[in-house]
Amino acid sequence: MRDRSIGLLLALPAIATIALLYLMPLMASATGAFATEAGFGIGNFVKTYELYTTDILYTLVIVSLSTVIIAALAVAIAGYLTLGENPAAVEVLRWLYRWPLFIPFIVVGQVLRTFLAKNGLMNNLLVAAGILTPLQTMSFLDWRGIVIAFVWKQTPFVTLLLAGAMAALDRGTIEAARNLGASRLRILFEIVVPQVRTTLFVAMVLSFVTMMSVLSVPLMISAQSPTMITADISFRINAYGDYGVANALGMISLAMTMAVAVFYLRQNLKEKAR
């Protein structure tokens, strides 16, 4: 009994830190979402619905699409790192793919802004190569630019986790399939990916949540309407001092990430039940 109370005492600083720095601000934000000038109500959510439905859907589509593209690229890269037979190519790829991990989101936004603009580096190269005429060029600084920035920045993260999980697999399971005549593509999709699907899910969920919280990329690449929730929250607070709607937007954003987290946990439970 005494041991237990000592243990509780030792955990107290950690519990207090979480309560003070995490739970309280979250609760304040949650209650703030329901605080209107007329008192406690759903006025902020009604306003949010009227003003920002497009932006919420826009955010959901951009982040979901990015997550899917990131997963596909990560599977391709990690798959090649695991199954590639050209040691030099594997080594070069292993060295290259992690670079974006060390570049901050704001820098990614800035770099891609100059690269993807109508008179940016990408279009200049395409024109110089004779693929496009100057009149055909267009700016990618809209939802496509945001997706490209997210994919560019987050693919290495998912790849890192996935390649680690793939490297930890029993090589025998790959060799047994190869031995029976499976092509590398079939081995990737029928043998390797099914065995690392939990890691892939975790990485996708973490990536989804990260992208939901990025403000710099939408601000740098496409801040006009429609834009992402993060940019809207920033705008509500900095331009209007409207914490109510900002909090409501924050709650919606939280609901979206929670939905993904619940989906992940359910998947995890199903896995364990098997």
């Binding site: 025998g172 060799e175 047994a176 031995n179 029976l180 005549g181 499976a182 029928e190 065995q195």
Partner: protein, 379 residues
Amino acid sequence: MAGAAFLSASDITVGYGGGTVLDRLSLKVERGEFVALLGSSGCGKTTLLRTIAGFNRPRSGQISLAGRDITTASPDRRNMAMVFQSYALWPHMSVAQNIGYGLKLRKTPREAIAARVGEIAAMLGLTGLEARKPGQLSGGQRQRVALGRALAVEPDVLLLDEPLSNLDARVRLSLRHEIRALQKRLAITAIHVTHDREEAMVMADRIVILDSGRTAQDGTPEEVYNRPRSAFVAAFMGAENVVALKGAADGERIAIAAGPHNNAAAIARNGRALTSGSFQARFRAEAASLSPVLPSAAIPSSATTGEDALELLGTVRQTSYPGGCWRHVVAVGETEVSVDAARPVEPGTSVILSVPSAALFLFDAPQDGAAAVSHAVAA
């Protein structure tokens, strides 16, 4: 290419990085033959199997199967199936999917796959487990599934990489016989890698003993057991008692000179390759007979000459009962040997050990590294 063995590896050299694992090694396997590659860990037996399977590419040499050069063919173009030590089953697939995967790759119609999977499952005693995942099976069942997966595609050659070494002793014993019976019934060509002498003896038609990347001996179980060609093979096949002798090889007779701890003996040469001088004698614990002598008689005498048997003089140090017979540790001069006997002999007793010619392995004494040879014994 001389001869037309079904599977032949000639002069293959394989290395990882700077080191050489297989050194100009050759192996021939006839159709329907069960060959065991036996050796201690690091001798290159698994490397040889993986090279035959196509997972390693030899630096030089040639591998051919049924007259076709497959040296550079990829693993999936060899029609060989491998059974792994770790089972290497696919955890996300059911037993039936594991067994049927090779057929699915060959675009076999679904009904035909189901029929073949049922047939294999029945043959391996897995009926009723088809829907289970590998995680829900015992070790023995898993290895059966791995075997079924390999057999389902009717490979030209079945490659077994220590398939039994992760199993309990009892399961291992029964699976040994099952695999052997199955191999005979299906008349399949099999190469089995193991470090377990008894396993190789029981299962194989022919045993190839490997020592640091080279073939130490290649013969039937009976040959390698009773006529080891080198001290290494003798030690590996269980003749762990070592005694140093002096003598002369002359024609069909080998005359062993009386020493401080042995009587003189005349042994029939019987094909032993020996030159006069120092010999190394090896024998198994069960090969020698042990009889107590009166203290006064324990003086070596050149008057008694053993005919077709070597007599050693020693003192019992230790007696134990491992089961079946009594085991004695007997000091013969500086060295100690193990000898089995039906009845126990008290420690301290002087004894005469008699090793019959047929169970006595004589080799020229190594110039150096004698200790290394006597310790190069696995399990």
